[in-house]
Amino acid sequence: MECEQLAAFYEEYALGVLEGEERAEMEAHLARGCERCTAGATEARRVVSNLALAAPEAQLPSGLRGKIMEPVRLSAAARAGAPPVNTAAKREVFPAWAWIAAAALALITGYAIRQMGNQNSQLAALQKQMKLAIAQNVALQNQLDESRMVASVMLSPDSTALKLMPKDKNMPMVHAYLHPHMGVAITADQMPAMPSARTLQLWFMPKQGAPMSVAIFHPDANGVIALVAPVKMPVAEIAALAVTEEPAGGSPQPTSAPAWMAAMN
């Protein structure tokens, strides 16, 4: 078929109703890179997309904005860049009072981030506020950094998203986002409380050799896990990610079967 004849089918092609020879011809023709028909098909796709507006108007669920904007603001804030933090150094000096304050601070942090709002001036004011808070309290910074890092790793297009499936069907899924440089982010919610004598431990299972301990962690009081740990081996050599339950303090090697696991492909 010539371009003139194909032109009659642009809209039907964009709508997805064409089949058989008509469709095959259109596809073959476009695959040859005909400029005129490519432009025509793109324009037709634009026209057809307006049919979306024929859908009955629905009310937006009230929580949807927050579900979208919260990770977006976190990632924007991460990018807007509080000063880079030497996490390791900071964690060595982590006073007991800071732990006690941590639960309350989690609220402040979440609230503060939600307030990060519509204008850069607000953002600047908030950053100032945050710096003040940092000076007063190491825990806030620590927690904020963690959530920022988690968000950055989660949202990076270079991260590989993995779902760690629970061995116990009643347990929630654990999500991992593996970034070759930024680290591995682990998130989960609705985790049951754990006795303080026990801990969860994340392992990289290499293609060859023994499991490598990556992080030791606990769900927080709300059953949430959100942390980032460094990736200390080439991603290509990781065969699987596993989480085991271990005695407090963690183990040099897993002492139980993985409670969650995901294979790399």
Binding site: A39, T42, N50, L51, L53, A58, L60, I68, A80
Partner: protein, 198 residues
């Protein structure tokens, strides 16, 4: 009623989609929020119409906007208009959801419905909120002016992802009739949008 799609704004005050996308590219969260204010409702309405389940529709819409945030650079590189991209991606995801659910076996080739349509058309000038509500008005007026059978055929194609022969089978109408209904409807859609843009 039609303006309820998007709230009316004073003419000329709202930033164009392209400008907002430039800001999204610079990681300005408020720009994405403005786009959500502009397109969240029509996108959600579309996805709910296809998926039929509010919880799943919510997840799909969340996914679409987070994808917009994550892939702003790829979108900008394509130099296309935003609304067609958003609606096409939302429709594809919602139809994928239906297909995955195995509710119906659908026919939808990825090759012609990429998430990132190729470039080649310039952004329309009047892109943005006002343009959107005007187009919504045109599309609805058009759809309600169509005879029942013709409207139904187009709805089955767009919202259910059916092909010509699937629609014919579903409606119990001859294939030729369905084809001419759809072609005629699409021509009228194109014409009415032309008027809307001038």
């Amino acid at each position: 009623m039609l303006l309820a799609v998007v709230q009316p704004w004073p003419e000329g005050k709202q930033p164009a989609d392209g400008e907002l996308m430039e800001r999204v590219l610079r990681r300005d969260a408020s720009a994405l929020e403005t786009l959500y204010d502009r397109y969240g409702r029509p996108v959600y309405s579309l996805v709910l119409r296809i998926a039929q389940q509010p919880a799943s529709a919510e997840e799909i819409v969340q996914d679409v906007f987070l994808q917009l945030w994550k892939s702003a650079d790829r979108f900008q590189a394509s130099r296309g208009a935003l609304a067609p991209w958003l609606f096409t991606m939302a429709r594809n995801r919602a139809l994928d959801f239906l297909r995955l659910k195995g509710e119906k076996q659908r026919r939808r080739e990825d090759s012609q419905e990429d998430d990132f349509p190729e470039p080649a058309i310039a952004r329309p000038d009047a892109e943005g909120a006002i343009d959107l509500s005007r187009r919504a008005e045109k599309v609805r007026a058009l759809m309600s002016s169509l005879p029942d059978g013709q409207r139904k055929a187009i709805e089955l194609a767009y919202f259910e992802g059916m092909s010509h022969s699937e629609i014919a089978a579903s409606m119990g109408e001859p294939l030729g009739t369905v084809k001419s209904w759809i072609r005629g409807g699409l021509l009228r859609l194109r014409e009415s949008l032309k008027e809307a843009r001038s």
